[in-house]
Symmetry: C2
Subunit: 345 residues, 2 copies
Amino acid sequence: MHVRDEIWKRTAALRIHGGRIDVAASLYRFAPQPWVDLSTGINPICWPVPHLSSALYQRLPLAADMARMTAAAAEAYGLPANAAIVPVPGSEIAIRLLPRVARAKVVGILAPTYGSHAAAWRDGGAEVHELNALPELRRHDLETLVVVNPNNPDGRTIAHGDLTAFAQAWTMTGRRLIVDEAFADVRPEASLLALPKLPAGTVVLRSLGKFFGLAGLRVGFVIAAEPDAAIWRGLLGDWPVSGLACEIATAALRDTAWIAAARARLAADRKRLDDVLGRAGLKVIGGTDLFGLFEARDGVDVLDHFARAGILVRGFAAAPQRYRFGLPADEAAWQRLEVVCATLK
Amino acid sequence: MHVRDEIWKRTAALRIHGGRIDVAASLYRFAPQPWVDLSTGINPICWPVPHLSSALYQRLPLAADMARMTAAAAEAYGLPANAAIVPVPGSEIAIRLLPRVARAKVVGILAPTYGSHAAAWRDGGAEVHELNALPELRRHDLETLVVVNPNNPDGRTIAHGDLTAFAQAWTMTGRRLIVDEAFADVRPEASLLALPKLPAGTVVLRSLGKFFGLAGLRVGFVIAAEPDAAIWRGLLGDWPVSGLACEIATAALRDTAWIAAARARLAADRKRLDDVLGRAGLKVIGGTDLFGLFEARDGVDVLDHFARAGILVRGFAAAPQRYRFGLPADEAAWQRLEVVCATLK
């Protein structure tokens, strides 16, 4: 028991965020190189960024460049007639700023979910209630409700019809609804953006980070009706994303052939992931086509087992037996995963 | 008079912000191509960005990458012992967010200056007093004072000794001082960051946009003591700039040879600009090594004159006879400037 407590303590940083390859490498110095990072829900095969003119580093994006990017986003995501798209330098910043825009004293968050939402509202002085389902409409103590849909890490997805009916009723009394659709690109039918009209006070977040695999680009979008959209524009100014990011995002969002092919590949890879991990005795709990959530038998520290072999997966401090696995990038990574799985049982 | 009013109205958008080449091109359809953009204070010869791995688009910057970048910034700018550097996705966003972090009802701004400061505070609900010199210390109605140093567009620079003495006294009664040092790279001796200790409540802004010529990169820094720095970190999250931007900024800030050479070149080019425009009858009013502010004789619309020749300069709605000229990027641009100057008199 002592050894396991020790491991648990040492690896605490790996159960807070994904992607901390540098921390993993310093904890597991004898792990084989290179590390295979399965600790995020990011598409490992990103939209293929072409070589771009260095002029894009120099000049500020023009208003016309921004307009082209938001038009491409509207085309790719859909856009309710009363809503506007405001680019943000990564949806994380939008999450952090939401409590400054949509002030609320009491906030409900569908949990468990991506930790930044609760952290941002608590930093903003709000009381956060973690809920395990959509609240009853009479919960008038909650001024704002945050839903990640599809959810991370369990993939829970509220069907479009259910969420839109709820959104209409919930916001009718002036309450806010925030829907983080960071993973909706693989479930476009679930997006609130398919609505002809966004209910007043609803804010939807989208991102280029996950599905397009461009997390390093820091491009996201806040979609809201006025006056919210104007407040976001005022907060972020005329050049919220870099010229380079604007150009890349526009081309990626317009690439319907790549989008269709990526959806098909991710779905196939996710099936393969379930097969591989299922054979190793891990039970599928949920996920999306970008990641799976698995449960291990009691007594097996899956994070430690894979980290010793140079494969980083995501653990959760609050759910010690659950692990999120992203998709391997290539056949070599799949092979390493399968080999390490064979020694798990 | 009628024609001049007409021109004035048509070119209004060119007297609000620099860099609006697309607007200029649509207004002056018969101007020779390519446009020479002298409407910004951005170094036209940017730090030479190498070809970078597309992996930087994919992964989030690591905490260690961010730490390397802020260490490089501390080395390049200097850093008071009690202060911390928080990266921001462009200092414009910091300017917009300042009223949310440093709440104040009444704000003083040394004017005329970059318009975003006043706009952001007014958007945040503050009463803005435009001052033409540092206020007397007994001005206790002002909770916050904003100083751009060196100033844009006139280059007014408060000497280090004067500003530090003022900063100590001003902040002693709990008032805030915000110093936007976007142009301080060409006047490093004027920076507040040379202080061993930053006075409590002082916030300094720096940026990669102007001197390094990387405006399209959207990298800036907020420098503040705790608890302010922690508030900024909380607002912006763990990945405030892209992986690519982080890598480029780190290398640029460490390139002391380029920095020294760029300072020398900019100083020489600024002298040449004064000579060229002086011969054309424009009077130097001020500036920095990145731009000059010039005054024309009454009755000459300099913006219109140069725009007809495909050269965009910056006009000011509030100062019709004043024009800001940035530096031409190459000999061809200098030649075009000189030719058009010859027809100005």
